[in-house]
């Protein structure tokens, strides 16, 4: 693999990388200083973000600059406005934001300041996944340090720009990573996603204009401001610019978080970045972007890892959280586990999702335990089509339905084999799982 410029993880290897001193020594907070003292206008910041082509790193790949520009005109809408940073990273397979928060929290803080400046937000809320205790502590310490240094609070760096950053800890619900669920949770309510419209930019936190961005998206902002849109566009492919953080896990020799440019194929990533499939085995399948994205078979490993190419292959780039499955993995078992996750994490508002995620899980579980019937496979497809696309308030139903459809499409023969044999030939443990929802009885 040829060499490429790196910036996202450029500081994480440094000693004491999470401290203000290290960050400053690496040119930290120069971007916000430039923005405030030159000074830039908020429109200029949004402009460079738009020009950069940065696409949101939270899963949907929506252009970040465009999202910022949706905030209403301050002269016509005087409501306070907020930035919410989605650090509730809980998609199975995703672990990239954690590295940034633990190792480079000031980078995120500077990004927040730039985003708040651009959107004229007076406050940013960072919603951190509850289990990420070190991320929370490091970020909190960094915020305290920055505040003491006059980088957060009133009249930042002696200018008339004021901005506060607050932290909020999640309590373990996947659904609170959905942007409207996150806002409900931030407001102190149950994390039930809100129907859209109204969109957050029109009515978000406390009914005020709000933008919700992923950690990595915000983290990119200081680099783009400092180096310009052209620099950013020089990396990656035309419609997916810059570098991204890849989280690769599963049956590979070197799982971990890597900074990569867009444009590599999945096979290159598995073989050249992650050291190949472990134990000399063959690749069977992989989730390209977390468990909510459709499973792809090994035959499709030559797909280029960027938003549009993965979409064309029938899956999603998601959060670039590749989960690699080798030839010994049983797809029925993988889907049993995946479906269990969505059954457990559905918020329960929408009928299709509440009942559908449970139903899918029950069917996958039966098949994986050799109790399936051939009719189950068509039922899985039919149920998934009843849950998605876009039939519910948020995309959790889609997240359960999409991998289901992909698994049945690409691995129907494996399910049929389990059903025909009355057992899963690839199952290694003989233990029988407890009955579903025993706790209810």
């Amino acid at each position: 693999m040829k060499d490429f410029p790196k910036y996202l993880l450029s500081r994480v290897g440094l000693p004491e990388s999470h401290t203000l001193r290290t960050y400053r020594a690496q040119g930290g907070y120069a971007a916000i200083e430039d923005v405030l003292k030159k000074p830039w206008t908020p429109e200029q910041v949004i402009g460079v973000m738009k020009d950069s082509g940065l696409r949101g790193r939270g899963g949907a790949g929506f252009p970040t600059g465009m999202k910022w520009s949706f905030m209403p005109d301050i002269t016509k809408d005087p409501r306070p406005r907020y930035l919410a940073v989605n650090a509730d990273e809980s998609e199975p397979g995703t672990c990239k934001d954690r590295v940034l928060m633990e190792k480079d929290p000031h980078g995120l803080i500077e990004g927040c300041l730039i985003a708040c400046f651009a959107m004229r937000a007076k406050a940013a809320y960072i919603y951190v996944r509850g289990e990420y205790r070190l991320s929370y502590n490091r970020l909190q310490a960094a915020i305290d340090e920055a505040r003491a240094a006059g980088l957060i609070g009133k009249n930042i760096l002696g200018t008339d720009f004021s901005c506060d950053i607050w932290m909020h800890k999640g309590a373990g619900a996947y659904i609170c990573g959905e942007e409207t669920g996150l806002m409900e949770s931030l407001e102190g309510k149950r994390g039930h996603p809100r129907p859209k419209p109204p969109f957050p930019a029109g009515s978000g936190l406390w009914k005020s204009p709000t933008t919700v961005n992923n950690v990595e998206s915000i983290f990119n902002a200081p680099f783009i401001v400092k180096n310009g849109a052209e620099w950013f566009k020089s990396m990656g492919v035309p419609k997916s610019t810059g570098n991204f953080l890849l989280g690769i896990s599963g049956h590979v020799n070197k799982p971990g978080v890597y900074e990569l440019p867009f444009g590599l194929t999945a096979r290159q990533i598995i073989d050249e970045v992650a050291g190949g499939v472990w134990k000399g085995r063959k690749l069977k399948a992989f989730f390209p972007g977390g468990s909510s994205t459709g499973l792809l078979p090994a035959s499709m490993a030559d797909v280029v890892m960027d938003h549009d190419s993965v979409k064309a292959a029938g899956s999603m780039f998601g959060t670039a959280a590749m989960i690699i499955l080798d030839e010994t993995a049983s797809i029925p078992q993988v889907m049993d586990v995946t479906a269990r996750f969505y059954d457990h994490e559905s918020c329960g508002q929408c009928s299709q999702c509440r009942e559908g995620t449970q139903w899918l899980h029950q069917i996958f579980r039966r098949i994986a335990h050799g109790k399936g019937s051939m009719a189950d496979l068509d039922l899985l497809v039919s149920l998934s089509n009843g849950m998605a696309p876009a039939k519910t308030i948020c995309a959790l139903a889609d997240a359960a339905a999409i991998p289901t459809l992909a698994a049945v499409k690409h691995f129907r023969h494996e399910f049929e084999e389990c059903i025909r044999l009355g057992r899963d030939p690839l199952r290694q443990d003989t233990q029988h799982a407890p009955e579903l929802h025993e706790a209810h009885a």
Binding site: R190, G348, E355, W359, G386, K391, I393, H437
Partner: protein
């Protein structure tokens, strides 16, 4: 108003209301579970999905009508195969864990889920999974019992407390398919509006403890009526088993008075309208079966025209009679009572008990006189029970007329009245009052037609929901007859 197209027709829709209202107003049959016109829409049950295009010829998509604002020129179809299919899919999910115990469910017959399943559902379910096993009869206080298995988690009940009474008491507990409705910290429900939960629950999850297993709803006749528990006069429906026995009182939508709600005091005010009859041949111990006059052995049943003649004679012979009507008197009864007042040369009064402590900022006014405003407008003066009793003690004669007038004046006080008082009464039931000379039975307010005027001046209608017992005549007819007799026998002659 916004111009939109629904099922091919150009219609005007209120832009402040969600699309589902426009669909319902213009004949689109769209089912709903979580949506209730009186509650904040949440768009969670997804059963109200319709096909919508931004403009003619534009690509269409299926959306939840309860959370979709109307926009100029939008094209809505409630009846296309795509809309039906999407709703049918949604219904299948809703029925996945629903116990389908309609044969033993109180809601059967008026259940939105049952109705829609009947219209659209598949004959056979595709789920072979075990259904959720949850609590079948969880008490939520004195009024409501929850069947967790039947619940489809529409959250109407949760929103009722947060939106209508403004005191949240219920919540969804748990996540996903493990969600259940519960009160905070398992505390029983409080307040005077719990009964509404049984009405707004679209399925049989929340049922009324009082109505549970009392009747199958298809055997209930429904009569438009008005609640008599306070001067709000909520519009209600009186529901009687086979048109004979009142089993349930429910609110009926009235935008100007009570919207969709009523209080539990009114809902459970069954005792005054389901009073048992006095034993055959007896005057006391239950509802009066016919006119009675004081005879050798106290009050004895008598021929009604003879009793009327006797009353007229007594009143004619003892001028200066007092006329006090019940606060339950209808406008029609009161108008006739005015004729009687003229014949008696008496000032018309209505007995006005003191305000009770049930007043709240939603519906209950705390004033137990349902027709105070109407009676006052007709010229009746309010008189407190104690003042009325004091006046009665000094009066030569008196006529007390109307449902529960004796009860409101107080049987104890009435029993102490001097026997020289010539007392004529019209009521549903009497006690052994020594001063009482003649008494006539009257129908209750669910056994007669008429009107009350509520605190804000709205006329509330009363209709015959159940027939009065044999021998019980309308009060206005009885009063008119007495007035005619008196006119023929001038007072003081």
């Amino acid at each position: 108003m916004t111009k939109i197209q629904i099922n091919g027709r150009e219609v005007e829709a209120d832009p402040k209301q969600p699309l589902i209202r426009a669909c319902h107003d213009h004949g689109g049959d769209v089912p709903m579970y979580c949506y209730h016109p009186g509650l904040t829409p949440v768009g969670s049950c997804r059963i109200c999905q319709v096909e919508v295009a931004a403009a003619p010829g534009q690509p269409s998509r299926v959306v939840a009508a309860c959370r979709t604002p109307v926009s100029e020129g939008m094209v809505v179809s409630t009846d296309t195969p795509k809309a039906h299919d999407t709703r049918r899919e949604c219904l299948e999910f809703l029925l996945k864990n629903h116990p389908l115990d309609c044969p033993i469910c109180d809601k059967a017959g008026e259940c939105d889920l049952q109705d829609y399943s009947f219209n659209e559902g598949q004959g056979k379910g595709r789920s072979s999974e075990p259904r959720r096993k949850l609590e079948k009869r969880k008490s939520l206080g004195d009024v409501i019992v929850l069947d967790e298995e039947r619940c489809i988690l529409c959250s109407r009940c949760v929103r009722f407390f947060s939106d209508v009474t403004k005191k949240p008491q219920l919540t969804v507990e748990g996540l996903g398919s493990r969600s259940v409705i519960n009160t905070f910290m398992d505390k029983p429900l409080e307040g005077n509006y719990q009964g509404n939960l049984a009405d707004i629950c679209p399925v049989g999850a929340l049922t009324s403890k009082k109505f549970r297993f009392q009747a199958r709803v298809w055997n209930l006749s429904k009569t438009l009526s008005t609640c008599g528990e306070c001067s709000r006069g909520c519009s209600i429906s009186v529901e009687a088993l086979r048109a004979k026995e009142v089993k349930r009182l429910r609110p009926r939508y009235n935008a100007a008075v009570n919207q969709w709600w009523m209080c539990d005091t009114g809902r459970h005010a069954m005792a005054p309208i389901t009073r048992p009859l006095a034993p055959e041949g007896a005057v006391l111990g239950g509802r009066l079966r016919g006119a009675a006059v004081r005879g050798y052995n106290g009050l004895e049943l008598a021929d009604e025209s003879a009793a009327t003649a006797l009353a007229a004679d007594m009143l004619a012979a003892h001028p200066g009679a007092l006329l006090v009507v019940s606060p339950f008197a209808t406008q029609e009864e009161a108008t006739t009572a005015l004729e009687l007042a003229r014949a008696l040369k008496a000032t018309p009064h209505f007995v006005s008990p003191a305000a009770n402590n049930l007043k709240d900022d939603l519906l209950h006014t705390g004033d137990p006189c349902p027709n105070r405003r109407g009676l006052t407008e007709l010229g009746f003066a309010p008189i407190e029970p104690a003042a009325a009793l004091a006046a009665l003690a000094k009066a030569p004669a008196a006529v007390l007329a109307g449902e529960r007038v004796l009860e409101i004046l107080g049987h104890e006080g009435l029993a102490k009245l001097p026997t020289k008082l010539r007392l004529v009464a019209y009521d549903v039931e009497t006690s052994d009052i020594p001063a009482l000379d003649v008494v006539f039975p009257v129908p209750t307010h669910v056994e007669k037609s008429g009107h009350w005027v509520n605190v804000d001046g709205h006329r509330g209608v009363l209709n015959v929901a159940v027939p009065p017992p044999a021998g019980v005549r309308r009060l206005d007819a009885n009063l008119a007859q007495l007035a005619r007799k008196l006119a023929a026998t001038p007072v003081g002659s």
